[in-house]
Symmetry: C2
Subunit: 439 residues, 2 copies
């Protein structure tokens, strides 16, 4: 449009030079003013805010970071601005696009949008993020358009490719390794990979890449049950459940250590289940909750606050949120996973020594905080020694008050992690049994 408007101005100029009649001159001036109006409106529509060099905590309406930097003053995050140093790679399906928008609004340093070769369709409008006028664009192009409007400070890189092809896998690997954004960074070029893909094959590819690169990643899924079920249809196309999971190569189970139960049970993946003419249901609510939990865990992991959750399920029908931990499977079929497991075991003495040194350093520092003239003999008492009126450990309350809810610490998490880690040794046996059943 800009070119057409410039062209019109120059055409008007030529006409004005060749016409002498005052009434023509008047009309041409009027037309010129119309074109200038149109140019102004065009500029306003495409106006982006200018980039911001440093994140400020200043409380003014024009500061897009004031509400985020306030996390520091509240003591939740030590250094929020560090978020600008981090690179996150993310796939942009239903969960990934919302997660990408959240990271962009949070001011992440660099976002690598990866790997969706789909186009935006009206059928995607039941989820957040894409808009009807973007129908027909590739999802990567539409995402870059929306995200760069929202926050021009974020470095966006997009790749439209299929990671399950050999060529696509190579591009994927080199995009993760690329360190041009922060050449001094340890390890590879990204800090975290968020796998927001929608099929088993692509998940196994992300798993392979991250195991090879020893790269921590998070998996997310909407619509698959975390509980064994043989009702394949409801498992694969269920819009009312989901989960997120943290995978640290060598330290936690990888995706191949414990494949989803329905794959083990049936020998088929989700894509086979999406029969022609049948589409999976999805809800913007479930997608929004899972994306929120995923990016919240990402922020906790990158900015080091709260507890990073190893696995969190979401059952929307009952508002039930199961958690668990999964240890790696020493018989995992993925060779890179076994290598990472070996490294993790070998590094145990060094980890223990570091932990001990850190603890000792903290013990040394603590006494310095005490006032020297402690005339009232006030000393710090461990919270857990104080028994509340309910026998709770969260400190004494004034008489007459009771806790409205149990504290998160008191909350009994289902203690399944132990069971899982024992059972996982038998996974290969189980897989064989199930394969035999299926054949």
């Amino acid at each position: 449009m800009e070119a057409e408007l410039k062209g019109l101005l120059s055409d008007l100029h030529s006409l004005k030079d060749s016409l002498r009649d005052p009434s023509h001159q008047e009309l041409l001036d009027k037309m010129r003013s119309r074109v200038e109006h149109l140019s102004m409106a065009e500029k306003l529509t495409n106006m982006q805010r200018s980039k911001i060099k440093d994140m400020s905590a200043e409380v003014v309406d024009s500061n897009p970071y004031s509400r985020l930097m306030a996390l520091q003053r509240m003591g939740i995050v030590d250094n929020y601005e560090r978020i600008r140093e981090f690179s996150v790679a993310i796939g942009i399906g239903g969960v990934g696009s919302v997660a990408a928008e959240m990271l962009t609004r949070c001011g992440i340093g660099r976002l690598l949008h990866l790997y969706d070769y789909d186009k935006v369709e009206l059928a995607n409008m039941n989820r957040l993020f894409f808009r009807p006028e973007q129908a027909g664009m590739t999802k990567t192009d539409a995402a870059v358009q929306t995200l760069s409007d929202i926050n021009p400070d974020v470095v966006l890189e997009s790749y439209t490719l299929n990671i399950t092809t050999i060529q696509g896998f190579e591009t994927f690997m080199s995009s993760l390794k690329n360190k041009s954004f922060r050449p001094d960074k340890e390890g590879i070029g990204v800090d975290l990979v968020l796998s927001c893909v929608d099929n088993y094959e692509a998940r196994m590819v992300v798993n392979q890449a991250c195991n090879e690169l020893s790269q921590t990643w998070m998996e997310s899924e909407v619509g698959a049950c975390s509980v064994i079920s043989f009702e394949l249809e409801s498992v694969s196309e269920n819009a009312v459940s989901g989960h997120i999971q943290l995978l640290v190569p060598g330290e936690t189970a990888c995706f191949a250590c414990a494949p989803p139960w329905y794959v083990v049970a049936s020998g088929v993946d989700e894509r086979t289940l999406k029969r022609e003419g049948v589409c999976a249901a999805s809800l913007p609510t479930t997608m929004g909750v899972v994306a929120g939990l995923l990016v919240q865990n990402t922020l906790k992991y990158l900015l080091k606050f709260g507890s990073v959750t190893p696995y969190l399920g979401y059952n929307a029908l009952k508002d039930f949120f199961p958690t668990m931990e999964m240890k790696p499977n020493p018989q995992c079929s993925n060779a890179a996973c076994l290598e990472r497991q070996k490294e993790y075991i070998l590094a145990k003495p060094a980890r223990d020594a570091a932990a001990k040194a850190k603890m000792e350093a903290e013990e040394l520092v603590e006494p310095e905080c005490l006032h020297e003239d402690n005339e009232w003999s006030i000393s710090v008492v461990d919270d857990s020694d104080i028994q509340g009126p309910n026998g709770s450990s969260s400190g004494a309350l004034p008489e007459g008050l009771v806790h409205e809810l149990p504290s998160a610490d008191e909350f009994q998490k289902p203690s399944v992690s132990e069971e899982i880690s024992t059972d996982i040794d038998d996974l290969e046996d189980l897989r064989k049994q199930l394969e035999a059943l299926n054949n």
Copy 2:
């Protein structure tokens, strides 16, 4: 812009009539084609999809409802299209704007955006929904622009007002009562009110309106602790927690039955705590999760699937999700609440009779489903009678399989509801004690 483009075309027309030189004619034709290009581009930018009369389950890329209607085929929702009959009133702050987008994408019948007299600022860009180019618009105008683009089938009504003024309260009440959308509807004009306001005073106003109208509503809050705390600052400006709550006048506690603990404890509301030059932190993740949980509960309530949750908390630091139920306070200070409580108690015999009749009707229907020639003596056994290998009640699994996670039914919810309903009787005493402490 449309007017300027039309003006240009008519100006070109007049010039063409008054000029005879062929080179002028050629230039004018070129200009005309430029203006036509601009008009076409303008039309494409403002193009909205046309309205859709009936929701279809057809699986084509151009159907914005295919993924939602698929909920029926999956047996989650009986009649998804009923969503078009419902009216929901919603405030549009941080949580409300995301919730409004979710409801719009779900195809809700009518959405009443209520009650934000703020303008969009760059400082709002850390949350989902608003875009930087909307800075300076009223939030209601910006919301109508975005939402009508996303789904033109939704009937949008917006009111820019302050519900805590007498005039604003009257407009609020009449907007809720207005039945022009569905004149045959029982009760008032809306099916649900979602209070997404950010201060105690406005919540008390929504509470008053819903108690007077006997209207079910849901409350949502980001940043306030559900556990007693005397650290006021962290309570009022905490971006890493939130909750949703269902309020049924007479049946559950109203907002005045049990005001938030920090109000009881301090005698001040949140707005007083937002000192000059200090702003509350907020995160798009926490807002997204709370909005998702709120609209999910709304869908379950309106479309009758799953369990509608009476109260669900979210502690992001620990991924902890407390639930509870709160009974109404017979000493509530809100007169309309007491009236609704009386009505609820008086209606108990009728409710019991209806429940009994329903149960009997179901018992009568059930035997008809049995096959008459049951030669193998197969009969339906209550699931809870079957003990799994782990003593669980979810049915027998094939040998060698164990449940990966406990089922939602087995999950031990903290049993606080009983405690709460007892304590609530002493709330007035407590309030007095605390007031004495504060003075």
